[in-house]
């Protein structure tokens, strides 16, 4: 089985984003960028499946500017066999990303596609589902467990209030949640080895995909500061307010 993992270069999770002073966009000048943490989990899962002897090849794909090569190198340093960069300086929204990935998948013919459940920049949580829809494949979103089971895939999913298990036909798309695994540390020698692994570059035009954004950002603002409320004199008042005013209990 061939596995393809999609990885996005996004703001590092330790770094706080803030809007530009004029509210036109998010200020990302010289901000540290890393692999989207959910994608890192997806990469780890792909490698684990391969290490368990259930995958013949693992491929990482990224879409974006030249610097996404670093993200792909990280995936390869973790253990992925090769990388594909679909290079573009355009803004790529989830639907466009799904279309680009679909085009790559049609070339590569993987049986399993892994992605992070969402990217920590736009917090869309869409690309995996959209990709599955465009391919006509089943989807296992918010995965916290993935197992191969008689020709198909059994996916444990984190749903509100518990865990759901579904069985999917292959080929399938799976998106990783936080608890699927804990990604490994990248080892120094593997970073060096990753520099020698193959990395192909494609363009959006070669793939013939229309990536025109459908959403326009009109304004990026700081969240409004939360205002303090009232002090209550005692517990009885507090419980009363929660029941009858806020209606949250």
């Amino acid at each position: 089985m061939k596995i393809l993992v999609a990885v996005k270069r996004a703001i590092d999770y330790n770094v706080k984003a803030r809007p530009k002073a004029d509210g036109s966009a998010v200020d990302l000048a010289n901000v540290k960028m890393s692999m989207n943490p959910f994608d890192e989990i997806a990469v780890e899962e792909a490698i684990r499946i391969q290490e368990a002897g259930n995958a013949s090849e693992t491929i990482a794909v990224s879409i974006g500017p030249k610097q996404c090569q670093e993200t792909l190198r990280t995936a390869m340093a973790m253990g992925v066999d090769r990388g594909i960069l679909v290079e573009t300086d355009e803004e790529i929204q989830p639907l466009a990303a799904a279309k680009v990935l679909k085009a790559v998948i049609e070339k590569e013919q993987p049986e399993l596609v892994l992605l992070g459940k969402q990217a920590i920049d736009d917090d869309s949580n869409q690309t995996g589902q959209m990709l599955a829809a465009l391919l006509g494949w089943p989807q296992g979103t918010f995965a916290c467990g993935v197992a191969l089971a008689d020709g198909g895939l059994e996916v444990r999913r984190e749903i509100d209030g518990g865990i759901q298990t579904v069985k999917l036909k292959l080929p399938a798309v799976v998106t990783s949640d936080l608890r699927l695994n804990e990604p490994r540390y990248v080892k120094l020698p593997n970073i060096m080895k990753a520099k020698k692994k193959p990395l192909d570059t494609l363009t959006v035009d070669e793939l013939g995909v229309d990536v025109t954004p459908r959403l326009t950002l009109l304004k990026a603002a700081e969240p409004p500061a939360r205002q303090g409320g009232i002090k209550v004199p005692d517990v009885a008042t507090l419980v009363d307010k929660l029941r009858n005013e806020a209606k949250v209990i």
Partner: protein, 543 residues
Amino acid sequence: MEREAMEFDVVIVGGGPSGLAAAIRLRQLAVENDRELTVCVLEKGSEIGAHILSGAVMEPRALDELLPDWKDLGAPLNTPATEDRFMFLSEKRAYRFLTPPQQNNHGNYIVSLGNVCRWLAEQAEALEVEIYPGFAAAEVLYHDDGSVKGVATNDMGRTREGEEGPNFELGMELHARQTLFAEGCRGSLTKTLFERFGLREGVDPQVYGLGIKELWEIEPGKHQSGQITHTAGWPMDMSTYGGSWMYHFDDNLVSIGFVVGLDYQNPYLSPFEEMQRFKTHPLIRDVLEGGRRLAYGARAISAGGYQSIPKLTFPGGMLIGDCAGFLNVPKIKGTHTAMKSGMTAAEAVFEALADESASGVEVAAYRERLEQTWLWDELYRVRNIKPAFHWGLPAAIAYSAIDTVLLRGKAPWTLRHRADHETLKPAAACKPIDYPKPDGKLTFDKLSSVFLSNTNHEEEQPCHLTLRDDSVPVKVNFERYAGPEQRYCPAGVYEFVEEGGETRLQINAQNCVHCKTCDIKDPTQNINWVTPEGGGGPNYPNM
């Protein structure tokens, strides 16, 4: 289990200006002479520049020598210095003084040193330097003959208790024919080298300052691109060494900072609060009001200068940059000297390694060459300015003028330093300082400041702020000095908390911005800062 090892000709510990300049110079020489030479740079920050914090006004002298076409290569030196102001502050007023000659900045640039380092790293990588950010050198390795063999990175994935966690990875050994330590001020490995090779014998103790910096975006109408302001006086009292900077650069950005000499005596002093209070001065408030604070950070700097420079070489390795202490204090600059030391080291190392069998040798030529450069002359001339501040500010200013203008730095005497951890007076002999409360607009508390440094450490790892004796924090630091670490730490790492009627020290290691002040100022030198897992610490953007 045995650690894996990788072999290089040269390993450089630290990806700041000196380490990167050394790496670039080494590879330039290798290319020019058509010689194979592998160079590796280890950086504990998550990326190059993540741990770099500086004013910074940069004198391009060393850069001109290293990469003469830096403008064409897109170096981020975008704001030429235009106006120099030196102000003496009283609580309400500011008096403009003649700018000391060392502070004339014509021809210099206001930069983000972090961004300069990011750019230097690109130049280094283009020359095939291997740069590994996110990996911390945690241990010096030695050959049987006692010479330095290289360094080892720390293990990743240990639990708080030091056990092997689920993702445990053993550290790596990096072996080199020559190891260059470029750790910056108060390097944790450098400290062990000082002891092992007696590098500080016969020189003055190093003395330090703690610089606290904020980056602000101000209202466009107030921005004076290229303007440089330094202040002395308020809020420091006359006996405490300290001063500020304020630089206008790039698009409506202002770099503002306060440096407190770590030889201060009152344990109630809080450098962080001094910085906050300083901003309430009309001179500063007027500039910042209506703007927003973008970033915060802190870093100790070496201020000892010439008389504190240690022995620089030992078998198998050498010290470059601020871990040796090449900062020019009156000039308030160290980037050009750090780079120059790295470049000079590179030239000496390149020559020594021409002998294929040379491994673990001491390259004494580094210091000999350094003494012939402008760096040495520069530091010698200003050697008496900082120590004169022991006499208090007015006397120091008078002395500085005589030393600089009349004697031109060639005074037949040299004033001495004493170590910063010895200067605290007992709390009983000092007055607590009543600092104003933060307003959340111009002044802030520590934790909301640390928030802007993007600091994080993997939670499950042994505490990297180690205590030699667990009883000392309460018995000595708290009881005698009223817990000075609560105040000198600019990141809120140390807190004395009461639990069940007993006081104990709570160490919030995750907040640590790697400034090294605790390692320096702790009165009994009980705190030993060791490097946490690579990639931890602040993630400074544009600092």
